[in-house]
């Protein structure tokens, strides 16, 4: 980044000569004693005050970018935190100086990562590393090889120690503690700016997988319970949940077993008036590739129809198109027939037949 751009950004952010002053949420409040120090410092009202202050500071950074957080802006804030804590450490009394030094080191690791991507300290710039836990600590930070990169920082112990060192009441430690907690909250907030694309990206992926499941289960060819069972059994090795990583995605193929369905069949050899008749067919065994565009499935079928002049039962093959429209060819008693699944028959009735009528009327 050019010096001019750096200065412009810093001025725009109001970060000269350093971080904005903490909100001083404790102004006007009675300083606590060491026993109640942490409870008071972490009370609901003070917590809310600090959150409002940090929200305003984050707002001054401008909106976060969903895909590419502005590392340049984040580096400036991190560096300001480093300068704040490193600058305060030498002059602070013993417990506080230790705290400031540890916080400064942790923030410096965040700056180093943002400046040199691929360094070992990548997680220092992310929010979990800046979250105080139930024991009042910022947790230790582990590296990729599980060795610790940084020890835990005992924030509560050190701040409470500073209060105890001050006396029965500790107005200075109270104010210092409030400022430290606010700056840790700020670090957590800018860490979340860097983490935001991960959360958004993960949500996008999860939503995509969930939508695929909806297509597989509800928007493609409907599976009865036993077909759902068969599809699961066939894919069991692939679906072995315990050894997978990430969300299970639906298999590419549905399998059908004894799948009954209504339809309409045409057998030319049947008696007049019986050639086209309602039928019921059962897909004895078949499959459907639900992601395919045109021909999606093939099944072996047995068909039942009540027609005069031909056999009631015939056997054949059924072809499914676009997960829904089925047409089959059957043979029974030496006679060949054509079967349409109900959806295809309805498509013909609702869409094609009116068009055919219009065309014929126009031709006349």
């Amino acid at each position: 980044m050019s010096p001019v751009r750096s200065l412009t950004l810093v001025l725009a952010l109001g970060l000269l000569p350093g971080l904005p002053a903490a909100a001083d949420c404790v102004a006007g409040l009675t300083a606590p004693d060491p026993q109640s120090f942490w409870d008071v410092l972490e009370s609901a009202d003070l917590d809310a005050c600090r959150r409002r202050s940090v929200q305003a500071q984050l707002g001054s950074l401008g909106p976060g970018s969903g895909d590419a957080p502005d590392s340049d802006r984040l580096i400036i804030v991190w560096q300001a935190l480093v300068d704040q804590w490193d600058g305060a450490a030498p002059a602070a009394p013993a417990p506080l100086s230790e705290l400031y030094a540890a916080l400064g080191q942790r923030a410096a690791a965040a700056v180093q990562f943002l400046r040199q991507r691929g360094s070992a300290g990548q997680d220092f710039a992310l929010p979990s590393v800046w979250a105080i836990d139930f024991n009042g600590n910022l947790g230790a930070v582990a590296g990729a090889d599980e060795q610790l990169l940084a020890p835990a920082i005992p924030v509560r112990r050190l701040l409470t120690g500073a209060c105890a060192a001050e006396g029965d009441a500790c107005p200075q430690a109270f104010a210092d503690g409030d400022a430290v907690l606010e700056h840790i909250l700020l670090a957590n907030g800018i860490g979340a700016r860097l983490g935001q694309p991960t959360v958004s990206g993960l949500l996008d992926k999860v939503a995509e997988v969930n939508a695929d499941w909806d297509r597989f289960l509800f928007d493609s060819k409907a599976m009865y319970p036993w077909s759902l069972w068969l599809t699961d059994v066939v894919n069991r090795r692939r679906n072995d949940y315990a050894h997978r990583h990430g969300l299970l995605e639906p298999p590419d193929t549905q399998y059908f077993l004894l799948h009954p369905a209504p339809g309409f069949g045409f057998v030319h050899a049947a008696d007049d008036g019986d050639q086209l008749a309602p039928t019921v067919y059962v897909e004895l065994l078949g499959f459907n590739r639900w992601r395919a565009r045109y021909l999606t499935g093939v099944s072996a079928i047995v068909e039942y129809a009540d027609r005069a002049g031909v056999e009631d039962v015939s056997y054949g093959a059924l072809f499914t198109f676009a997960n829904r429209y089925s047409v089959g060819v059957t043979a029974g008693g030496g006679e060949v027939g054509v079967t349409l699944g109900l959806d295809l028959a309805n498509l013909y009735r609702d869409r094609l037949q009116p068009q055919i009528r219009r065309i014929r009327a126009g031709a006349r």
């Binding site: 992310l126 600590n137 993960l202 999860v206 969930n210 289960l217 319970p225 990430g246 209504p262």
Partner: protein
């Protein structure tokens, strides 16, 4: 009113649940909703306005997956309805196909005398026994969870916790394991970075934990990433609470019981990251109900403390516990306890035997519910 910063996502167990199930009144016992139960408990610790107003601190969000089963059963029912119209013209074929047709339409219709099977057991069997249904449920709950989190992620001081109950504990376990291992996000982060640094839950509370018994991989269950850690960029949560009641056969017959020394890292063993809470009081016939659990201070006290990260004074905790024990004498529900003890001695070494025992347990509880009413 300022937005509540502590978001808690609740995932239900077996049975029928509305979309806003945390506001539905529990049909047995005191008849309060889960939200009412928590709001009532909150008041016990409000000396000096300690926690602030409930609505200013806690955002309770129900997540649900009943709609997956409802949609599936409705689909079968619709397919069968169309088929039946056609079958009316083919009595011979209709007779042959009748067994299949009845199987397909049964889940949506149920029968009065087998209603419990269709509202409880069938969902469990589909979830446990069919990886496709399980995959859809896990993806659906994962999307609900991340969508809700995304609304507040990055807001300063906003935290995220999860409370799961019964079968929901298994769902949550699989959701978290899937999210933490999803290969896709490697493209968004530097290689080797754990999702823990980006998103870590403050509390994961597993009530009546069935994640182990419903796991297809018993030997590997405790080697998943779903564990707490006090190391900032490790673990899915800072605190994990495993909650059970000694009379709750759903969780006690095959309990979640990780080997602590191997399961937790050394820091987390020291730092009290894992709470194993076993309650012993029976204050209502339905010992398995989530509201029954939260009535007990041994459950709601750590819930408030760990979500808000503020300690309740020992004196207040003691007083609440004494009041609770005083209002629910140990001799209460004596006959029910005797029968529950008898059930507890049953063999539950396989899932079918576990399901049988669970059915009898719930039937027993329901019979006492009816008597109490």
């Amino acid at each position: 009113m300022a937005q509540a910063p502590h978001h808690v996502y609740f995932v239900h167990g077996i049975g029928q649940h509305s979309k806003n199930w945390i506001d539905d009144k529990e049909p047995s016992g005191p008849g309060r909703s889960l939200r009412e139960e928590l709001e009532g408990a909150w008041k016990l610790y409000q000396d000096n306005d300690r926690f602030g107003a409930f609505a200013d601190q806690l955002d309770l969000v129900p997540l649900s997956y009943d709609h997956v089963f409802d949609a599936l059963y409705a689909q079968w029912e619709a397919e069968v309805a169309t088929l039946r119209t056609h079958l009316a013209a083919f009595p011979d074929a209709a007779a042959e196909l009748d067994p299949l047709v009845r199987i397909a339409e049964a889940p949506a219709n149920g029968t009065a005398d087998a209603a419990f099977f269709y509202t409880h057991v069938l969902d469990l069997l589909w979830y446990w026994g069919n990886s496709l249904i399980q995959g859809k449920i896990v993806a659906d709950v994962a999307e609900q969870l991340l969508t809700a989190i995304s609304e507040h992620y990055g807001k300063p001081g906003h935290t995220f916790s999860i409370v799961a109950h019964s079968m929901g504990t298994s769902v949550v376990h699989k959701v978290l394991q899937a999210l933490w291992t999803q290969p896709e996000y490697d493209g968004r982060l530097e290689a080797g970075r754990s999702l823990s640094a980006v998103l870590k839950f403050r509390l994961l509370m597993q009530i009546s934990n069935t994640s182990f018994v419903l796991s297809a991989d018993a030997t590997g269950h405790y080697r998943t990433l779903v564990k707490p850690s006090s190391i900032a960029n490790r673990g899915v949560c800072a605190t994990m609470a495993n909650v059970s009641n000694q009379f709750d056969l759903i969780s006690e017959t095959v309990p979640f019981d990780p080997p602590r020394d191997e399961w937790l890292d050394a820091h987390s063993q020291i730092d009290d990251c894992y709470l194993d809470i076993l309650t012993r009081r029976l204050t209502a016939p339905n010992v398995h109900a989530i509201t029954h659990y939260f009535q007990n201070p041994l459950v709601h006290q750590p819930f408030f403390e760990r979500v808000l990260q503020r300690r309740i004074p020992v004196a207040l905790k003691r007083r609440a516990l004494d009041d609770f024990q005083g209002s629910s004498p140990a001799a209460g529900f004596k006959l029910l306890k005797q029968q529950l003890d008898s059930l507890a001695s049953r063999d539950t070494s396989s899932l079918p035997r576990y399901v049988t025992a669970a059915r009898e347990f719930i039937a027993l509880v329901r019979s006492f519910d009816g008597a109490a009413a």
